[in-house]
Symmetry: C2
Subunit: 319 residues, 2 copies
DNA sequence: CTGTTAGCGCTTTCAC
DNA sequence: GTGAAAGCGCTAACAG
C-alpha cells in the first residue's frame, strides 16, 4: 500500500511504455500489442492502480452523474415508493460505473427543466419518468442520445399483459361488475391498462367503470368511495397501483364491505409490503429494480433503450 | 443561447479580468475587489455561465459522488424501504450540489470494503448505515472527515423517546405483558429501544420479553409466532420496524388473535403504507428524508455530524 | 502499433 | 488585490 496513489504515468513508466499506450489498454479503447498490453496490466496490478474517475470524465467530456427526472405535478412524488425503489436501484446499478445518481422532480410543463438538464455538463445521462407520448420525441438536442425513459416508450412493464391477467382471473372467479382505478390521463403509461380493461369489459358485454387515480393511497380511498356511490353493485376493483389498492381496501373495510367476499381487489406493482397487508393484496409483480437499472444503462448507451419486462400476477387474499 | 457554452475564460475576458480572478469570485474563495467582483458576476450572468462541475472537482481534488454504504448481512437489504427512502432523499438533497449518490452494500466484516471506499478518488464522501459502535471510531484514514453515519453516533432518530412514548401509551391503555421485537444485536441503533423497554418494564415490575428481529416482515411473522408460543398471555407487541410489525399483524390474524382487542401492536418508522394497512398501524413517525439529507450534508462537511431527530408517536388502529 | 503533443476547464500557488 | 503559469490525471489527435 503506497501512500501516494499510483497514476497512469507511474504505470506507464513501470511497464516501459508511454502514458498513451497505458491509457489505451487500461481504458479498453484503441490498439495495443499483446506484449505492451500484458506489461501494462502487470504494472497496473502491481501498483494497485485505480484510474481517477473524475480526470477520466473530464478528458472524455462525459459527465459523472445520471439524473432521474420524475415528471409529475405532485410535489411529494419523490417520496413515492416506486420512485424511491427505482432511484435506489439505479444508484446500486451504476455504482460499478463510477456514476452517481441524482433525483429531481420536473413539472408537467417541463421544457425549461429539460433545457437545464441539457445545459449541465456534469451529467452523463438522464432517465425520465412520468412522460407522455409527445415528450420523448421533442427532447432538447443536448439530451438526445443520452436519455432513456422508464415507462411507455422506454424500459417498461408489460402492463397490458399484467392487467389483462388480473382481470381474466377476476372474470374466471365469477366477477362481472369490475371497476378500474386507472392512472392519470396525462401519463403515457396509463393507456395500455385502460385499453385491455375496455376490451375485456366489452367482450363480457358489461359497461365500463373507470375512475382516474394518481398512484397514491389517498386517491384509492376517494376512488373507492366514488365507485361505491356510483355503482353500488361493483364486485371487483382493479387498481393500477398497490398504494391505491391499499387505499381502496381501507375504504371498503370502513364501509363494512368484505374483501374478497363482497368485492375483490387487485393492485399493481407488488410493493414490498403488499403481501404484508391484511388481507394480503393480490397484485402483479414487476422487476422494478431491473427496469430501473435497464433504463439507467440505456441512458448511458449500455443497453437497448426499449425493453418490455414481464408483469406476473400474484394471487394472495384479496382476489 | 450560444451554441458553445461559455467557459471561465470567456467570462474573464468579458469582465476584463484574468481567469484567476474570475475563478476567485465565482468559486467564492479568495480575495477580490468589489469592482472586479461585480464585473465578473455581470459577465457571468450575461453569458449564462455555468461552471463545469467535473473540471472544478478535478482541479480541487474532490470527488463527484457520495456513496451510501449499507452494512448488513442480508443481500437484499438494498431493497429495504428505509434504505430506498434514504437513498432517494440523498439523491434529491445532493442534486443542487452537483453530486450524485451511489448505493452499495458492505458486509458485517467490512474493513476491506472501507479500504476500497477510501481508495476511490471519485468519491466526495460516504454515508454509512448499519454500523456498530466500534466501526465509526476505526475508519480508514482516507475516510476520516468525509464520512457521516445514519443511526447511533450520526444523524439519528431519537428512538429512546419514540419507543418510550409508544410503550407509555400501551401501559396507559392497560397493557402489561408487553413483548418487544428488537433490532439485531450487532447494530448500534438497536440498543436504545431495548434500554427504554427494559427500564419501563422493570418499573412496572413485569418480566421482560425481548425477541431479536432484523427489520423484515418475515422476521415479524416468526417473532410473533415465537412470542405467542412462549408467552401466550402477551397483550401487546412492540416492534422497532413497521415491516416487522406488519409481519406480526399477519401472524396474529392467521392465529385468530384480534388486534387490538387481544393484542395491541406498534411499529416504528411510519413507512408510507403503515397507515394504509388494515388495521392501520400505530407507530412512530420519523423524518427519514431529513435524516438522510442531514447525513449526506454532514458527510460533505456542510452540516453537523451528529443530530437527533424527533420520533413522534402516531396512534391509529392497532394500539 | 506507439510515442509526442495538446488539451479537457477550472483552481491555485506564487510573485507583483 | 491581481495576473501568469503550473498543474489536477487522463484521453485523443496526429505523426511516425
Amino acid at each position: 500500500m503506497r501512500e501516494i496513489r499510483a497514476g497512469l504515468a507511474d504505470v506507464a513508466r513501470r511497464a516501459g511504455v508511454s502514458p498513451a499506450t497505458a491509457s489505451r489498454v487500461l481504458s479498453g479503447s484503441g490498439p495495443a500489442s499483446a506484449a505492451s498490453r500484458a506489461a501494462v496490466l502487470a504494472a497496473a496490478g502491481q501498483l494497485g492502480y485505480q484510474p481517477h474517475p473524475v480526470a477520466r470524465r473530464l478528458a472524455r467530456g462525459t459527465g459523472t452523474r445520471v439524473v432521474f427526472a420524475v415528471r409529475d405535478d405532485r410535489a411529494d412524488i419523490l417520496l413515492d415508493p416506486f420512485v424511491t425503489r427505482a432511484t435506489a436501484a439505479m444508484a446500486a446499478a451504476l455504482d460499478p460505473y463510477d456514476i452517481g445518481v441524482s433525483l429531481r422532480r420536473i413539472g408537467l410543463e417541463c421544457a425549461a427543466d429539460l433545457e437545464d438538464l441539457a445545459a449541465d455538463r456534469g451529467l452523463a445521462a438522464v432517465v425520465l419518468a412520468g412522460h407522455d407520448r409527445a415528450l420523448l420525441s421533442c427532447l432538447p438536442s443536448g439530451l438526445r442520445g443520452r436519455t432513456a425513459a422508464i415507462g411507455a416508450g422506454g424500459a417498461d412493464v408489460d402492463s397490458a399483459a399484467g392487467v389483462g391477467a388480473l382481470l381474466t382471473h377476476l372474470y374466471a372467479a365469477g366477477r362481472r361488475r369490475i371497476a378500474l382505478v386507472a392512472g392519470p390521463s396525462w401519463l403515457a403509461s396509463s393507456a395500455p391498462p385502460v385499453a385491455v380493461y375496455t376490451e375485456l369489459t366489452r367482450a363480457a358485454e358489461m359497461p365500463t367503470r373507470v375512475v382516474r387515480g394518481d398512484f397514491t393511497s389517498d386517491k384509492g380511498r376517494t376512488a373507492a368511495r366514488a365507485i361505491l356511490d356510483r355503482w353500488p353493485d361493483t364486485d371487483a376493483i382493479a387498481s393500477v397501483s398497490d398504494a391505491t389498492a391499499l387505499g381502496v381496501l381501507q375504504t371498503l373495510a370502513d364501509a363494512g364491505v368484505r374483501v374478497p367476499d363482497d368485492v375483490a381487489v387487485t393492485g399493481f406493482d407488488d410493493i414490498p409490503l403488499a403481501g404484508a397487508a391484511h388481507p394480503a393484496l393480490s397484485t402483479a409483480t414487476h422487476p422494478v429494480e431491473q427496469i430501473a437499472a435497464a433504463a439507467a444503462r440505456a441512458a448511458l448507451g449500455e443497453a437497448a433503450p426499449i425493453a418490455l419486462f414481464p408483469s406476473t400476477p400474484v394471487f394472495r387474499a384479496t382476489a
